[in-house]
């Protein structure tokens, strides 16, 4: 277990988990399971969950231009599928098997509930992406894996690797570059607002540019400037639409610039506070030290009014999550439930809020258990007693069974573990919100 001690300066009334739902819906969980275990009418879900929908994942559509030469690709056949050989003689089936390559890509959307069939009732927020730098790093990793990682290294010195990451995101003055499943695509603030509004979510984060803390000063300041300008453009585009109520747009704040530029940005945002739903700090987890992260949030909190909602993108560890909560942030973006699930880890909140002094100390938080560990081979108990998730409720599935599923590489393991992790994170948000008097 890892012990944390956190000082509360401001008791946050309601903490929301902004789940990175990369494809516009809950990962692993079908609507059928959602209705039963994460019903949008449940207090736990209603008060503490927001689903983050990334335009870069959900709104990229192919273009088919009949005038352009298109490549016809045959679908790869599985060697084990004996039955397909016979059916391929059917010209209709053969036609279906051919995949025609698009001539290009653009952004477009339909209402989210139609597109992803997400149940209505969830609180949703459109974002361009959750983190441009993480996307670029993932793309580099993927490229290196494909081209034999031994020949290249990305972990050069601190300056070297981050410059390389940033160079992938070649945003221009007018457009942001997003790493989509179909390669890098550029989107302007106006197009972003148009597409984002079609999704009909409850809120939207303004388009942003992003630099790393270790990038040059000019790069960092230009990222902050562009983010500011694009916020203005997004606001204008929304006003022009005239359909949106107030307090719809979150203002993005790029946090890697110098103190002066940062304070300028915050000031600009506070001028628009009446129009904005809140302020979202982008790339917070890239800040090197914990003290600097907390200091940044403190600066922002001091400048904005007490009614202004704060959001961070993102928290990549439980410690960061708790730090953000303690610093007065109300909406915390994270993909921790998914990350833990992919590492076969189940959250064990064991969160005991005790010995709470006037400053508000939280002690005794145990993070996760690794279900791949053989110590669980014969453990008939559920992951967490009294947990009401789809895996643990009424002792439904034992740790032994989930351990076996992980070892057997069964997808069901991830479904059960994710359901558990998400439930536990929501319970944590609930506990943090209530606090202890």
């Amino acid at each position: 277990g890892i012990l944390y001690s956190i000082l509360y300066k401001k008791m946050v009334n309601n903490i929301k988990l902004l789940l990175h739902a990369e494809d516009g819906s809950f990962p692993y969980l079908s609507n059928h399971l959602l209705l039963t275990y994460f019903n949008p009418e449940d207090e736990l879900v209603k008060d503490h969950l927001t689903i983050g929908i990334a335009v870069k994942d959900t709104c990229v559509v192919p273009l088919y231009n009949t005038e352009t030469k298109v490549k016809v690709l045959k679908r790869k056949r599985s060697n084990n599928d004996d039955h397909e050989n016979e059916n391929e003689k059917d010209p209709e089936v053969k036609r279906q098997n051919e995949i025609i390559k698009p001539s290009g890509y653009t952004f477009d959307a339909n209402p989210l509930h139609e597109m992803t069939r997400l149940l209505s009732g969830y609180d949703t927020m459109v974002v361009p992406t959750f983190d441009l730098l993480d996307d670029a790093r993932a793309a580099i990793e993927k490229d290196l894996t494909a081209k034999n990682k031994k020949q290249k290294t990305i972990n050069g010195n601190a300056k070297g690797n981050n410059t390389k990451v940033s160079s992938i995101i070649i945003s221009t003055k007018d457009k942001s570059s997003l790493m989509t499943p179909n390669g890098v695509q550029q989107i302007s603030p106006t197009m972003y607002v148009e597409v984002g509004m079609k999704l009909r979510c409850n809120a939207m984060l303004s388009l942003f540019d992003q630099a790393h803390q270790d990038d040059g000063k000019r790069r960092r300041e230009s990222a902050t400037e562009r983010t500011k300008e694009w916020l203005i453009t997004c606001l204008s585009a929304l006003k022009a639409k005239g359909e949106v109520k107030e307090k719809y747009l979150w203002g993005a704040l790029s946090c890697v610039s110098s103190d002066e530029v940062l304070l300028d940005s915050i000031n600009d945002l506070t001028h628009e506070e009446d129009l904005l739903k809140g302020i979202a700090v982008i790339g917070w987890h890239h800040i090197h030290s914990r003290d600097e992260r907390i200091k940044l949030l403190k600066k922002v909190e001091e400048k904005v009014s007490s009614e202004t909602h704060l959001c961070v993108l993102a928290a990549t560890t439980l410690e960061q999550f708790l730090d953000a909560a303690a610093s007065g942030v109300g909406t915390i973006g994270t993909s921790l439930p998914v990350v833990w699930t992919r590492s076969n880890k189940a959250m064990v909140s064991g969160l005991d809020i005790y010995n709470q002094s006037k400053e508000g100390r939280l002690l005794g938080v145990q993070e996760c258990m690794d279900l791949l560990d053989d110590e669980y081979r014969n453990d008939e108990s559920p992951m967490l007693p009294n947990c009401l998730c789809l895996a643990c409720k009424n002792g439904r599935h034992s740790k032994a069974y989930i351990h076996h599923l992980i070892k057997a590489n069964e997808l069901l393991a991830q479904i059960l573990v994710f359901g558990h992790n998400l439930n536990q994170m929501l319970v944590l948000c609930q506990l943090l919100s209530k606090g202890r008097t």
Binding site: D23, N87, L411
Partner: protein, 466 residues
């Protein structure tokens, strides 16, 4: 009775009593097709030096074993007048199986991407768990400590069937069915590395699978350790699992095999199955055991196998072994073989077709009196982006067809939760994005489709259409 194959000058063919003209004409047809046109069976005559150990006689089993079980029975509801198709129910300690019925395969004690609750809502009754894989991970002792497979996987109120591992012997040695047909029975080299680089397990004939009279040696694909599977040990493992229906150890030879080896293999399977049955009867534990009929596409051997195995106190019959190189051969095989199961007490027991459950084969086989079909086919299809519909298979990968198919479900009229909530455009997107959610949704639909299909076919039989 003990049967021995004779010398080169005479070939004994066992023909059941001519009860009906239909049966005898089918046997004659089968003889013409397979005896004279046995391109797949080497026409070398059986060696006169071959003298296998004797088979267990039916009288060597206790009398009580032949009595009806109070925990397991087949109930005939309707016998078609047009064909051998029939509608019935199999009663097991953990629930009922409507027949003809589809059996989904949960190899490792889990359906791919599906919680059993979702599968049950999709209409799934009997589920097949593979004993070989469960033996390697997590192991029979873990499952036994958990209170049995029903409790371990948390499916307390529905029946389960486990097999022996016989098919894995085949797949390790010869590859998949397609590979074995393509390679004409050539043994596959195993890529299994042992921990210590021990190559003693590699025989000059090939891979790390060695069949002996006592049992079969495997190499675990998980960690390379040597495992010896016997007819008795496989029954012990299945007793630990507590499944409702268990299957004895058998040997599955490839389609392309010379007759000498096929005879030896069938004889060995008979001896193994008798040993498994004997072990099973030591402690029945409210489990039913099906025999596995072998003989490839050889009329004589198949007939011999049916006659011998149905004379033993098995609770049901599984049709196994090599079933032809394509579905036409399979149906021809069933055409002349299945009438044998209409005689006497054989009629009162369920019949299962092992490893085959594509739509065309189901429709062809059930008119020959097959009650249940198992295959990983629907769940495997879902992983590869193929969805089953009334209009045929749909390959969701086609962007031009499906990327803008807003509001269109996979299959019109399908009531599964996938079709109720999602359209093809989103499924296309999930598939292209390689989202695990696609596998889940596709599996729900495909399992639902198969169970719907079987329900329609049962109704067609009752309506006199089949």
């Amino acid at each position: 009775t003990t049967t021995t194959t004779t010398t080169t000058t005479t070939t004994k063919i066992i023909i059941p009593p001519k009860n009906t003209r239909v049966i005898s004409s089918k046997i004659t047809k089968g003889l013409k097709l397979f005896s004279s046109n046995a391109s797949s069976v080497n026409k070398q005559e059986v060696s006169s030096e071959y003298s296998p150990p004797s088979l267990d006689s039916p009288s060597s089993f206790p009398e009580w074993a032949y009595e009806a079980r109070d925990f397991f029975r087949y109930e005939l509801i309707y016998q078609s007048e047009k064909s051998l198709a029939r509608v019935g129910r199999i009663h097991t300690p953990h629930g009922i199986i409507d027949t003809p019925g589809f059996v989904a395969v949960a190899t490792n004690g889990a359906l791919k991407g599906l919680d059993f609750r979702q599968a049950d809502e999709a209409g799934q009754q009997l589920v097949f768990c593979n004993s070989y894989h469960l033996m390697l991970q997590p192991g029979p002792e873990v499952i036994q400590e958990a209170g049995g497979l029903h409790k371990y996987i948390n499916r307390p109120n529905k029946p389960l069937i486990t097999d022996s591992g016989g098919f894995q012997v085949f797949s390790l040695a010869y590859g998949s069915v397609k590979e074995s047909l393509d390679s004409e029975g050539e043994l596959k080299r195993a890529n299994i590395k042992s921990r210590r680089g021990d190559k003693s397990f590699m025989t000059k004939d090939g891979p790390a699978v060695k069949v002996t009279e006592d049992g079969v040696y495997f190499r675990s694909y998980r960690d390379g350790r040597k495992i010896f599977l016997t007819p008795e040990s496989t029954v012990e493992a299945q007793k630990s699992y507590g499944s409702d229906i268990i299957i004895p150890l058998d040997q599955l030879p490839p389609y392309h095999i010379d007759r000498q080896k096929l005879v030896e293999s069938v004889d060995r399977s008979h001896r193994w199955e008798a040993r498994s049955l004997r072990k099973h009867l030591e402690d029945v534990k409210q489990q039913a055991m099906y025999c596995v009929v072998h003989g490839g596409v050889d009329v004589e051997l198949r007939t011999e196998s049916v006659n011998y195995l149905t004379s033993l106190p098995f609770d049901g019959y599984a049709i196994g072994g090599s079933l032809g190189k394509n579905s036409e051969e399979l149906l021809e095989l069933l055409d002349w073989m299945m009438p044998m199961f209409e005689q006497g007490h054989r009629k009162d027991k369920p019949r299962h077709l092992l490893g085959i459950a594509d739509e065309a084969s189901i429709q062809g086989a059930l008119v020959h009196g097959i009650d249940t079909f198992d295959s990983c086919y629907p769940t495997r299809l879902s992983r590869h982006g193929t969805l089953l519909t009334k209009e045929g298979k749909m390959h969701i990968a086609s962007g031009k067809r499906h990327s803008k198919a807003y509001g269109l479900p996979i299959d019109e009229g399908c009531t599964c939760s996938t079709c109720s909530h999602y359209d093809r455009a989103y499924l296309w997107h999930l598939f292209k994005a390689r989202e695990p959610l696609f596998i889940q949704l596709a599996a729900v639909h495909n399992v639902h489709y198969m169970n719907d299909l079987m329900a329609r076919l049962r109704q067609d039989i009752l309506d006199g259409k089949l």
